[in-house]
Symmetry: D2
Subunit: 420 residues, 4 copies
């Protein structure tokens, strides 16, 4: 086992703030390093689930409905890498990842609309939840019967700390967005109120800094107050990576990350046992506490050398190999309205088309199919982004994870390759 | 060789209107069948390239710059399928596809901004072109040196005719979109003028019916005039499929398609030797004239039975198998502005990040990298669509199609799996 | 279409000897080139089926039972490659391959024991045959119902001419083998008569030169007689490649081949639509006449540089991608007898174990299952070759080519990933 | 973590005989169950390495040279499965596998010829060893520089106990083999002394029962003596599975196994971090102590229902996905002699051809290349087994596990798909 550089109390109810060395739930360059690492070595980092243990292994979704988003996501770190300087690339190999033995289960939640909702909140405004039992590489759920699949476990969220300037830029542009409609967060605004170039509205354009429930490692006193006032929330992906939620970044993947501050100050969390592209349920993938083993290395001056100010990746090669899929398509037309070149709307339609197909085929409710799409290894692929006015996006589901055949039957149907 | 049900004169300069049986370039239910087929059998359909032979095998892009889009796309068909009725699903297997021996090359074009542009028109407003030589399963281009890849050839555009009601609905909602800004098509409108919910503006919100250069098979006289006045353009994907441009629909794929009129009236065209997800150059993939062999079958009452009013697919299993990729990410932030949950902007940023990396690595111009992304087998994947305010989209490039290593070098670099 | 350098009359009953330029059916360095090619270019070569059209599209196996093996295999070539010299490596890319439109079917035959038999001749001593209809990338057979699969078409036999010395060496060592038991070819020798280190005996230890029915291109007169007396038969694989029957050498593959005579004198034939590892039926894969497109190139002095006197390969990447297999195992124990480290016996046992499973599962006869294993994309893999006294070999069958589930049912059975 | 049903002292020097519950190193139906399991549940079984800790993490091969084979393989078990009876099929899912944290390394050894040797012992008669460091999913070796690869860890040896009759049959037929040449084990017999149908001789035709160093679980006294006199050695694969050494049986695999005695009496051991097909070094793969998590289930009466008396498998889908290989071929000709249809000789030649290529390319000794082929994920595939007189077998090496390009260079060389 690699050296553990961030430890989580196995009484998982102990909050992140009370760990031996606390982590953090905001981005700010002043958060002191939780530990220091050497390039060229592998370390183990333990992580809490992103909500800091707000979700129970139960059959109701009350915990999801009343979730407090303010302390999310709790992250492990930051870690200073010896010799790392702004302009370098931090190279991180994902060497291992897994749940804690103490909690062999994860969860997928759909937030209620009043709590921010998910991707399909206008179609399913209530809170829902599925508990997934983890059995080695597989998972099943008593709440989503009829599927069993292999998790390509991965971290949903990681990145280096922003520089003060980059942090200020994030706050500037996100506030500019909020200012367009500051009331969105509180009102119950109908979908489709968005104008034609945009997506249907849902609550909250963006989340500003929030000192309430902020955790900034060991920072305290006035240093804490100053930082908490401007530290960015962890919800969106940004230039440093952040909440990228890319399901292909499983074991064997290599990540090249831009460095903005001395030492890099790398943090990680939001571990997923498995996820569908888009993590459409918002809360989210199959979320779990657990460990991740990372190997660190450095490319000096790599940002300039490789012309990058965003992370890039070499995905691993041990994710489950599937060869048969059923693929649904969506176009950017919703409720009789064309959304101009809007891949987000097109993906929502693809999700809805898949759900309509899955509900009778699997005898599922809308919510079960929705939870499934957030948790299972489904692929969302850009189809068209130039054929005015409609974007097209496809969604592919591996066929062998179901306990029955999902292919249409009858003339032209039957098993895959036998056309009769 | 299967029975040929639509023949193209191998003097490829003969326009679609002058073929033995002409095809069409608009969608309308009154276009008479070009031929009739039986379910359970395989047929060959020959196709012109989508522009009806407007592009030459030359080293300048004058033909792209002066392209007349009005006759595009020229399609082969429609074909009536015996016994097919509204509410059925038409099952189409893609059995074979290839270029004509007379034209062993294809093209990728980037439209000039004044001609509608492509996905990155604000970054490359001029016209560009690459000619791709087709050598069996491979292609190379003298205009994009250093890459050689295998084409998973596929049809970009296919679908059944809309019913009169569906056609009317298409016209209604697209006109509503045009009416939001009817001047867009003619003006030289700067990018980024779009408001925060939308994408940066580019010319043309949508294209209304256009009798000029319309071709409706054998329809003529007043019947032609009536139909041409309302027949829909072929540019966007719609409920029947249409210009879906899904690069995975190569040989071995099965398509399940909704049927809206008696006989189905299936048409096809826009053959691609290869394509990148999104076909970001607009004109487009590696476009080619050629043949496609299709097997037809029917699921009676399949639309209700499988709860669908959109095509769905089972992709084939013979596309090239790659196992190493370099993956770039984009988020919906452009020019200092957050675009709320906009996957289209995120994909554009991913494309630009890839281009920035490729230009020095391959010694390419911006346009060469742009043409490459439109033509080569690159994957565009939905990352995040719920992490307000930023969508994330990733773009993956197979590493083995290049004549050199694309991976970063140096500490932490080197060959894939050797971390040194 | 590439330039055709070897043409076959499309009246396929015209024998190889009467083609415009005849091919050959023996190996000898004096056979004059049928044509000359340039390195760096792609050419089309047309081929007859290996038996020179002795097999009919019929429902009985009389043609297989009475097959004349003496003119087999008929090959196209030889081709001289400009500048190629002994010690070079000839680099051949397989660019395309397919059946002739005139014969959209192929065949798999099992020879009767008196005619040499196949791998399981002691278990199925009669002649059998299956006709496979070719439908684009797929094939089905009225003689082997319930399967439909994709062919990774490939050449079974290719190689450069041996030098006179190498030819003499082949004759010497093969005669030495024949001399061990020269009566084997005529007698009806029971299986298992072989001693413990060897395989069960079947007729014929090796085939010596045979002037009868020999075809040596345009060679005639005394030159023909001299060459025919020593020219080697084409049945076995040898140092130049020859009848390698490697099913992975489909389109996209590259072959590096040793060169023994000036110009190389490359020949090819024995095209297969599809094949199982081992081609256990002997006659054999799905045999077909057709065309193959090859790109030629040269590595000067490559044999010494890469320390090779045998061909080596880089297989292509467009063969069908399967992800679910059922795998049978065999060990080198037969009829109560241990065969010391004998992978050949182990593979035969794996084949028999698979046949025992397939017969009831698919409602097939022994012969149908046997024909299936010779023709379908099954993998034969070396398991153990050191665990005295038993070799182990495995045989894997892709599950999705069947019209039903082949997995065991019941507790522990059911669909792949759902355990109970 | 699943319930542990067999525990290994983490002082790994404690021999198997002194574990809390000892395992065994011979096959006999009277060995008492070490534990009992329920169908439908998952359990953890801990295993010693197959030699019971005879190998050290050192740079010399003295431990390999002086290895005592008599106590090998030490196995964990046997386990009785509730309700299992002769004629049933035991269904085992491989849910997880890994090394102990206490020993993050494994070894590959080549036995000296006087100690039995390996597959290439006539070419490398001394003892050799490589230590492999295990770093998550990867391994590297200071003794075989320049490669890094992912292990598809798997058990080399597992099976149910034989019935008394089956055990007697094994002894009968193996003794018959030994009787053919009882002196082979002691003499230094030159290779190639075998006759033409067989393989070159190496020491030992088979290993008879050996009471010395026998371990039969808790059996003792006269019961031990009686059983030890006839209990079979564990070296060969047999009808129950046994030492199958199939490298594809990694996590996610399902095994269907015949049951010969009440309760089944399943045992397992010989864990491999990774292995090449054939495990040609004999000692062997990358051998390691560690844990394996198994899920048990039962198909009542499955042997008759599925017509099987041998294990069969459904391999998992998470092994590393490679798409580029270099493939070497071997034919059954050695030292100027044809070995009639001998796939074992053909595989040896393929191994030697690969080694000849690898030595200069990687700057390796013969032994380094030999150790590599035993340990790395190389595929051995049956080519031809009917083309008299020569078998052909191929050996494929994934190209991306090396720190340099292995493809030939020069004209026709260069990177994979770029021909010139
Ligand atoms: Zn996340
Ligand atoms: Zn998450
Ligand atoms: Zn298109
Ligand atoms: Zn197109
Ligand atoms: Zn052959
Ligand atoms: Zn053949
Ligand atoms: Zn073993
Ligand atoms: Zn072993």
């Amino acid at each position: 086992m690699p050296e553990v550089i961030f430890e989580i109390n196995r009484d998982l109810s102990v909050p992140m703030a009370h760990q031996a060395v606390p982590g953090h739930n905001r981005w700010h360059p002043d958060i002191p390093p939780a530990n220091t690492v050497r390039p060229g070595a592998t370390y183990r980092i333990e992580c809490k689930d992103w909500t800091d243990d707000q979700v129970r292994n139960s059959d109701d979704a009350e915990d999801i409905r009343t979730m407090n988003l303010d302390p999310c996501h709790v992250l492990s770190g930051p870690f200073a890498i010896e010799g790392l300087e702004p302009g370098d690339l931090l190279v991180v190999d994902i060497v291992g990842i897994g749940p804690f033995e103490e909690q062999p289960w994860g969860y997928t939640g759909i937030f209620a609309k009043e709590n921010g909702g998910g991707f399909l909140t206008d179609y399913s405004p209530g809170a829902s939840k599925a508990i997934w039992d983890l059995d080695g590489i597989w998972t099943t759920s008593r709440h989503v019967p009829g599927v069993r699949f292999i998790g390509n476990s991965h971290p949903g969220l990681f990145g280096c700390a922003p520089s003060p300037d980059l942090l200020a830029e994030w706050n500037r542009r996100e506030q500019a967005l909020i200012d367009l409609n500051p009331d969105r967060v509180t009102g119950d605004i109908p979908a489709l109120q968005g104008d034609v170039q945009g997506t249907p509205q849902v609550p909250a354009l963006a989340l500003p800094p929030l000192p309430k429930d902020a955790l900034l490692g060991t920072l305290s006193g006035s240093a804490f107050d100053e930082a908490a006032a401007v530290a960015c929330r962890t919800i969106p992906p940004r230039e440093h990576g952040g909440n990228v939620d890319i399901k292909d970044l499983g074991v064997g993947s290599r990540v090249y990350m831009p460095v903005f501050v001395p030492g890099g100050l790398f943090s990680i969390g939001d571990l997923h046992f498995a996820q569908g592209d888009g993590e459409i349920t918002f809360c989210g993938a199959i979320e779990m506490p657990g460990f991740i083993d990372l190997h660190f290395d450095v490319i000096k001056g790599g940002m300039e050398r490789y012309k990058t100010d965003m992370p890039f990746f070499k995905p691993g090669r041990v994710g489950p190999n599937y060869s048969e899929f059923l693929t649904f398509e969506g176009i950017s037309v919703e409720d009789g309205r064309n959304y101009y070149m809007n891949a987000t709307v097109a993906y929502r339609r693809a999700c809805l088309n898949a759900i309509n197909y899955l509900m009778p085929a699997m005898d599922w409710t809308f919510e079960q199919a929705y939870l499934f799409l957030g948790a299972a290894p489904i692929d969302g692929r850009i189809g068209g982004v130039v054929d005015i006015p409609n974007s097209a996006v496809s969604l592919s589901i591996p066929l062998s994870i179901f306990d029955r055949s999902l292919l249409p039957e009858g003339a032209g149907g039957g098993r895959e390759l036998v056309a009769d």
